[in-house]
Symmetry: C2
């Protein structure tokens, strides 16, 4: 048994505070250390809020996922929700429950340090201060985290899921299926334990997804998109959400889908791209008269289909093949992707 | 084995939405159903944010705590943090992870219904709409919740822990030790399973604590308090936090402490009152020239001591007895209150 020393909640809070320098921004006049944090969004801005659980053996496995990647993904999920609405991050809140004695062991201390580093690196890169949260002892041997992201957007300008109109073109940022393909090798124990800084954005779409904040902000600022959602559950599921919110249906061009290089080598590349989930790319619609740039901040945008008028004789999403034939594309995203219990995830 | 039916995350979200009617307020233009919620604090207001875990077998036990009380307490903890800063609730966010199959069983369905009712009743009573959250399957058999409360206060007016000055008087709202005394009987299995509406505020300080929102708002609006904190960890611990944040020390009058009727019948009434925790009363300081009302919104305020200049030869908190003798009062709140693992709680 490793030697274990008692680590109190106050020690844990101190460790978290060390990993995140106190914010001196005017928009966060009071961070960790009082009953509440105080946020002061600039006048004329809405505040956007999203929360995401990160639960061991649901969203990650300690054996296969480096702690650094767990911390990164924890924050990336919420940042991607902000990106989908074109928001700028304001502050994050981390609730963390560790198993009893875990932070008192060398392995636990290392895990915590790496977890906070992964979270902190992405927080720095995206200018997201940590303004609060909660700590507790986990009631079991599983690590539990919940993260809150707040962001801002000028009043009334945030992108929503509900604005797609018949005739709009459908676009995605980046490429699809990479996260699911990488997850497959991670679960098989093939992924490197630690990524060196800088090389991960393309190589590790599952372990180190890059939230499309810059892209979302340009889309919002230039009013390019009629609707937007992030691809967390997979194209087939998230496009279904967007269509339901907008009261429309959609047709996807089979040949137009940008498949991630990691997925291209897999026999079920198309399945990974449409059902894989967790790519954290943006899915957006734009009026046919809008000129969508080929790239925003280095990331390509690809037209993949068309929004159509809802018609209950047609399925919500159809797939158009090169020979002109059509088939329904059923929502088959993350919830059903793996036969494993692991990574059954909501939202 | 009870019959179990599969309940998906979407069903769970639908159940939660049913328990909380959609907000039509201008301050919450977009609630559940998009990538983020949108909050629109009125111009000239700060936004306050606090998060609190509620984890089974840490913060409650399924065997002894009625689900209705678990839901109530879940929200009450965050509302009490808002109260301590004099804020008005804006919106809540609930993250909830239930054990696999639990919501598919009759017992689980009943638990969820009661939990949401307890949460929803307090949300209605305090005008706190639910604007979002997350759901997941718990990785174990324990129920996991994390709740985010947001509130508003006119810019720069929120009460803080850090404003106490030497010479200030120390006050508490309500009475102390009731929650710890009731917890004792709850753990012994003596508490009623369900409270009838209306009778619980005084009878059930542990199961149904009443956040002092009205009192905090009056203190802030009339600028009566120099510092304020809520009593979540116990007077000895929370007063230590307030003194540390303000750079002062404190002396408590032994005879002045208002002891809750439920605690008065216990042999260790004083211990329960100063170390018991979770009373969710407000602890505040006021300049000696400020006239503090005897009651605010029906709840008495009692002067219990004085703020003194920090002096490293004296302990941070001393207790003044009737005979003029003094003894140190060490922080001995919630973290160390019970010998049980249960209810070891941070912050």
């Amino acid at each position: 048994m490793p030697k274990s020393t008692h680590v109190s909640e106050l020690d844990l809070i101190a460790e978290i505070r060390r990993a995140f320098p106190a914010s001196r921004r005017r928009t966060v006049p009071l961070g960790i250390g009082d009953d509440c944090a105080i946020l002061r969004p600039p006048p004329g801005h809405d505040l956007l809020v999203t929360t995401d659980f990160t639960l061991e053996s649901r969203h990650f496995r300690r054996e296969t996922h480096p702690a650094q990647a767990v911390g990164h993904r924890c924050l990336a999920r919420g940042l991607s929700d902000l990106a989908a609405m074109g928001a700028t991050p304001l502050a994050a809140f981390l609730s963390l429950a560790l198993p009893r004695n875990f932070p008192g062991t060398p392995i636990g201390r290392r895990w915590l340090k790496d977890f906070l580093a992964g979270l902190g690196n992405l927080a720095s890169a995206t200018h997201t201060p940590l303004a609060g949260g909660d700590t507790a002892q986990s009631p079991t041997e599983t690590i539990l985290a919940d993260i809150v992201l707040t962001g801002i957007a000028p009043t009334g300008t945030a992108l929503r899921r509900s604005g797609a109109r018949p005739g709009d073109d459908i676009y995605v940022t980046g490429a699809l299926g990479g996260a699911a393909a990488e997850l497959r090798s991670v679960l098989a124990g093939k992924s490197p334990r630690r990524a060196s800084k800088g090389d991960y954005p393309h190589l590790y779409p599952h372990l180190y997804p890059q939230p499309r904040l810059a892209q979302g902000q340009v889309l919002r600022r230039r009013a390019l998109a009629t609707a937007c959602i992030d691809l967390s559950d997979g194209l087939s599921t998230d496009l279904t959400h967007l269509c339901a919110a907008s009261g429309v249906r959609a047709e996807i061009d089979f040949t137009a889908l940008p498949i991630h290089p990691l997925a291209q080598t897999q026999p079920d590349a198309f399945h990974l791209a449409v059902n894989g989930g967790e790519d954290y790319e943006l899915l957006l619609t734009a009026a046919p008269t809008t000129r969508i740039p080929g790239k925003i901040a280095e990331i390509p945008l690809t037209r993949i289909g068309t929004i159509l008028k809802r018609n209950f004789r047609h399925p919500p999403i159809t797939l158009l093949h090169t020979d002109g034939s059509r088939e329904p594309l059923n929502p088959g995203g993350w919830q059903h992707f793996t036969t494993q219990e692991l990574f059954v995830e909501g939202k």
